[in-house]
């Protein structure tokens, strides 16, 4: 069984975002970048499945500018066998990414495609479901547990009401929740070994996919700031404030 894992390079989750003054976007120069956190869970799960002897090959793929390759390299360091980098400059929307990934799936014929449920930059939560639609494959989104059977998966999904379990036939798309597993760190020897693993570069334009944005970003601004609050000295004062000033209890 072959697993394709899609990863995205985003601003590190610990970075405090700064909005550009001209309203054109957020500051990315000299800002720490990392793999989108739930994509790390996706890689980890694939590696665990391979370690359990149920997968033979893991391919990590990313779509993005030159430096996006770093996320593929990281995936190789934690256990992916080879990488694919689809190069594209500028903004690319989930719809276009899903069309590019469809081309990669058609080329590689994986049995499973894993990715994070949502990227923490644009917070769209679309790509996995869109890829499943293009391929007419089943989708198991927001996975917190995956059981691999012969020709199917049993997936526990995190939903508003609690947990839901579904069974999907393979080939299938799974989008991973942060609680699926605990991503491992790459060891230094594995980071060194990863440098020798192959990453195939493909230009998005060669895949015949229209990557022009359909959504115009008119303005990016800071959210309204909350007015500064106060510190209260005691529980008694807190309750009085809530009762008489804020009038919420």
């Amino acid at each position: 069984m072959k697993i394709l894992v899609a990863v995205k390079r985003v601003i590190d989750y610990n970075v405090q975002i700064r909005v550009k003054e001209d309203g054109s976007g957020v500051v990315t120069d000299n800002v720490k970048m990392s793999t989108n956190p739930p994509d790390d869970n996706a890689i980890e799960e694939a590696v665990k499945i391979k370690e359990a002897g149920k997968a033979t090959e893991i391919i990590a793929v990313t779509v993005g500018e030159e430096k996006a390759q770093e996320t593929v390299r990281k995936a190789l360091a934690v256990g992916a066998d080879r990488g694919i980098h689809v190069k594209v400059d500028g903004t690319i929307e989930p719809l276009a990414v899903s069309k590019i990934l469809k081309k990669i799936v058609e080329k590689e014929n994986p049995d499973l495609v894993f990715m994070g449920k949502q990227a923490i930059d644009d917070d769209c939560n679309q790509t996995g479901q869109m890829l499943a639609a293009h391929l007419n494959w089943p989708q198991a989104t927001f996975a917190s547990k995956i059981e691999v059977n012969d020709k199917s998966l049993q997936v526990t999904r995190e939903v508003d009401e609690g947990l839901e379990t579904i069974e999907v036939n393979t080939p299938a798309i799974v989008t991973c929740d942060l609680r699926l597993n605990e991503p491992r760190y790459a060891s230094l020897p594995n980071i060194m070994k990863a440098k020798k693993k192959p990453i195939e570069q493909i230009n998005a334009s060669d895949l015949g996919v229209d990557t022009n944005p359909r959504i115009e970003h008119i303005k990016i601004e800071e959210p309204p700031k909350r007015k500064a609050g106060i510190k209260v000295a005691s529980v008694e004062e807190l309750v009085q404030k809530l009762k008489n000033e804020a009038k919420v209890i």
């Binding site: 975002i17 719809l95 923490i120 790509t127 479901q129 995190e158 359909r214 970003h217 209260v232 809530l242």
Partner: protein
């Protein structure tokens, strides 16, 4: 052209977030039709028809829709979607799962999780966990939009009398099977719609200690929330998680106890009307968004808090 809203329900009742999404959809276009896909859900169809903002209810009734499966819903939506300028649903786990599948098959670039309708093609949406707001204009001819439910008031549910039209089911997928759903039953208000939320973080130190939170929640008739750290540590189950990848809540009062205030948590609660933070670390980032901060040991403060609440003659419910 009219707009089509996809209803979320359990074949007995409409889920509350659908009512918030109805409000948003009606701001896009008043000719609002609601699509109900279910099995023996006539009561749901009736209650939707009584929502004054709804102009028409399209009802697909078939046993294959007893459980919600995105693949089956998508096929049903596509069968009837071509007359509509916008397809809309709530941006909770229901709509997040469903809408991109619909959008991709219509070749539409979806606009996710909007918090404001500026015009029928322009919307405001949070990005980077709410640390920036983007004004976006969709240039697709038709739009697929998901609505952040807590950013819109719930629609009135009585007084309307929309027509209910029965329409055809679509084919069923053979590749996805529903197995089960573990719903955690509770007498408390739902986290997403509660007037008061009290949340615990890693500072609680154990699942047992969440009883301190529960006691106050009982007194205030509050929903219980948690930070991801508390959920990951196993103190409480995942459906309580508030944050970027959990639930977004906008209660009148949010009480954060033993929560440091990571960016990802703030994303889920900082629009709350009044925020209280109780934390023994005076430098914790949670204090930067709190209207009332109490620097104290929660193990002393929470019992005292309950005691003070007990002294009050009345408590708003």
């Amino acid at each position: 052209m009219s707009v089509l809203l996809i209803a979320e329900h359990n074949n007995k009742e409409v889920k509350p977030f659908t009512l918030n999404a109805i409000t948003a959809a009606s701001q896009i276009d008043q000719d609002l039709h609601v699509l109900l896909i279910g099995s023996k859900a006539d009561d749901v169809a009736k209650s939707l028809s009584e929502v004054p903002l709804v102009k028409k209810v399209l009802h697909i009734d078939h046993e294959i829709y007893e459980n919600y499966i995105a693949e089956n819903y998508t096929a049903a939506i596509l069968k009837h979607a071509d007359k509509y300028s916008h397809i809309i649903c709530s941006a909770n786990t229901f709509g997040k799962n469903l809408m991109p599948r619909v959008a991709a098959l219509l070749d539409i670039s979806q606009v996710s999780d909007i918090i404001k309708v500026i015009s029928p093609d322009t919307f405001l949406r949070p990005i980077y966990a709410g640390n920036a707001f983007a004004t976006v204009k969709s240039n697709d001819e038709r739009k697929c939009v998901t609505i952040r439910p807590t950013s819109f008031e719930a629609a009135e549910t009585t007084g309307g009398s929309a027509e209910i039209e029965k329409i055809d089911a679509a084919d069923q997928t053979e590749n996805t099977k529903f197995i089960n759903r573990e719903e955690i039953k509770s007498d408390r208000p739902e986290l997403g719609t509660a007037r008061i939320v009290i949340s615990g973080g890693r500072g609680l130190q154990s699942g047992e200690n969440f009883k301190l939170i529960t006691d106050v929640a009982d007194k205030l008739n509050a929903a219980i929330g948690a930070s991801r750290a508390a959920v990951d540590a196993g103190y409480i189950t995942n459906e309580h998680q508030v944050g970027q990848t959990g639930k977004v809540v906008v209660p009148d009062l949010y009480i954060a106890v033993g929560i440091s205030g990571a960016i990802q948590h703030l994303a889920g609660m900082k629009e709350s009307k009044v925020i209280v933070a109780i934390n023994k670390d005076g430098e914790a980032p949670i204090f930067s968004v709190a209207d009332y901060g109490l620097e104290a040991d929660l193990f002393e403060a929470l019992p005292q808090f309950l005691e003070e609440l007990n002294k009050l003659n009345t408590i708003q419910k």
